[in-house]
Amino acid sequence: MARTAQEVADAMFELVKEYQGKKKFKAGDLTKAMIEKFGQADCDKQLCKTAIRTLMDSGRCVYTYFGGSFIELPPKEGAEGG
């Protein structure tokens, strides 16, 4: 069954949350993980692209830069990236 962008965004968020502090995900990593999870027929790259936009616009994740761009959970209040 084809997935919606919101479903994929939720799954991406759960993955980022699960690995926060252990592994940093790039947009491409999340895309590959979602295609593996849901299958190419139900979740293609275009859907993942829309899902990432949905996820970032919701504010549940933010982009970070550490020698490359990653998608992570927002910092907790008072903790500042540097």
């Binding site: 790039k26 947009a27 491409g28 895309t31 692209k49 990432i52 936009r53 970032m56 616009d57 504010g59 933010v62 982009y63 970070t64 830069y65 550490f66 020698g67 490359g68 761009s69 998608i71 992570e72 927002p74 910092p75 500042e80 990236g81 540097g82």
Partner: protein
């Protein structure tokens, strides 16, 4: 001049001497009204004295929904220089060809003096308008005000960097295609790639109208789109004669400096073997009234340049020798997307396209993006050992 702590800045003062422009002079000028610039002077002086940088770079800064356009910068010396504890850079998408009205520049400066240090870089090496130095809390207000005035952030991080172009047909008679239109079109078409980093690393597109390559795309852009022509150089023989009569030594200075020696001057007529012309522009640049690019114009697409960050520097190599560039540029956009598809799938973290091609081999790369290998992709026969022209080998031929 003294910094915010009242200390003198003798090392920085040295950089104001000489006939050239000085960034120290500009910072000092802003320091009269900006505490941020005063602290910047103090930290810079300390850095020069101790031969150490005190900036840390990166982290978690940006505006809602965007992954590019803000470069996080923090000071290690935030107690000594509190006004530069945050000193983020903002990149703003420049207009194609860097044309502004004075009103637009005033608007930018007003926004920046209200929310940041007031220091700008017009323009950064990416081509963007660069705002130097603001705090995290000011990012959203700046973004809001910029977008209300129809400006948008540029690229940074692992995304499509802000496409840039030369002034093209707006001011240059050599431009072989409309660079500003193409740059504007690509910028709007690839908004998602520009604002939401999804690549293994950065990807730069620069559009140069002719082989003079005024935006230095061949050295700086992953994809260099350089204007060219495929028919004959237009010659005005009377104007050539006028150059000769005016004292120009055409035989020595024009024909003698042609890299492929494809020109001849018999004292009356200039002849060009156009099949051997490599479009170096030397003759056209020197006899601007007599020679012009041909009429069948388009562009050459080259791929793979980069500066030495992770690995060594690379220049772009020819991917498409000639392409007509007219809206809606579907062929070009399709090619770009095929390159990104393969790069996204196989590129390593922080690997540029030029490095990817070196790693996987040009032959494999071309096959993956559906482009046929052709002789124009190599400078000399057998220079690239990854390409084999098997169709030229017949049964019984000895393979070397």
């Amino acid at each position: 001049m003294a910094d915010s702590n009242g200390k003198q800045t003798p090392l920085l003062d040295e950089l104001e001497k000489g006939p050239w422009p000085s960034f120290v002079k500009e910072i000092k000028s802003m320091a009269k009204e900006s505490p941020m610039c005063q602290d910047l002077l103090g930290q810079l002086e300390k850095s020069y004295g101790e031969k150490r940088g005190y900036w840390k770079h990166g982290g978690i800064v940006g505006v809602m929904g965007y992954g590019g356009g803000v470069i996080g910068r923090y000071s290690f010396l935030n107690e000594e220089f509190p006004h530069v504890a945050h000193f983020h850079t903002i990149r703003i998408n420049q207009p194609s060809g860097w044309f502004y009205t004075s009103d637009a520049i005033r608007t930018l400066c007003d926004i920046w003096e209200k929310h940041g240090s007031g220091l700008t870089n017009m323009h950064g090496s990416t081509g963007d308008i660069v705002f130097l130095g603001t705090q995290t809390s000011e990012l959203e207000p700046i973004f809001k005000e910029l977008t209300e005035k129809d400006f948008d952030l540029g690229g940074s991080g692992s995304d499509l960097r802000t496409p840039s172009c030369c002034v093209g047909q707006s001011r240059c008679e050599w431009a072989c295609y409309d660079t500003m239109q193409l740059c504007d079109h690509l910028t709007h078409h690839f908004q998602d790639e520009l604002h939401r980093p999804a690549f293994p690393y950065k990807f730069k597109i620069k559009c140069a109208g002719c082989p003079n390559d005024c935006v230095a795309s061949v050295a700086r852009a992953d994809m260099s789109i350089i204007g060219t022509w495929r028919d004959n150089i237009q010659i005005d023989q009377a104007a050539v004669k006028a150059y000769a009569d005016g004292g120009m030594n055409i035989e020595r200075d024009i024909c003698g400096n042609c890299p492929t020696k494809c020109m001849q001057w018999d004292g009356k007529t200039l002849t060009i073997d156009n099949s051997n012309c490599v479009k170096c522009m030397h003759c056209i640049n020197n006899m601007t009234k007599a020679l012009r690019p041909g009429k069948d114009r388009g562009a050459t697409i080259l791929l793979g340049a980069k500066a030495p960050i992770v690995d060594g520097a690379l220049l772009s190599s020819v991917l498409v020798p000639f392409i007509k560039l007219e809206p809606p540029y579907e062929e070009l956009k399709d090619l770009i997307e095929r390159i990104w598809e393969f790069w996204g799938e196989h590129g390593k973290n922080r690997e540029r396209t030029g490095e990817l091609i070196q790693r996987v081999g040009l032959g494999n790369f071309l096959e993956a993006i559906g482009v046929e290998p052709i002789p124009e992709m190599v400078a000399h026969p057998r220079e690239n050992p990854f390409i084999f022209y098997e169709e030229y080998l017949e049964e019984g031929d000895e393979e070397e």
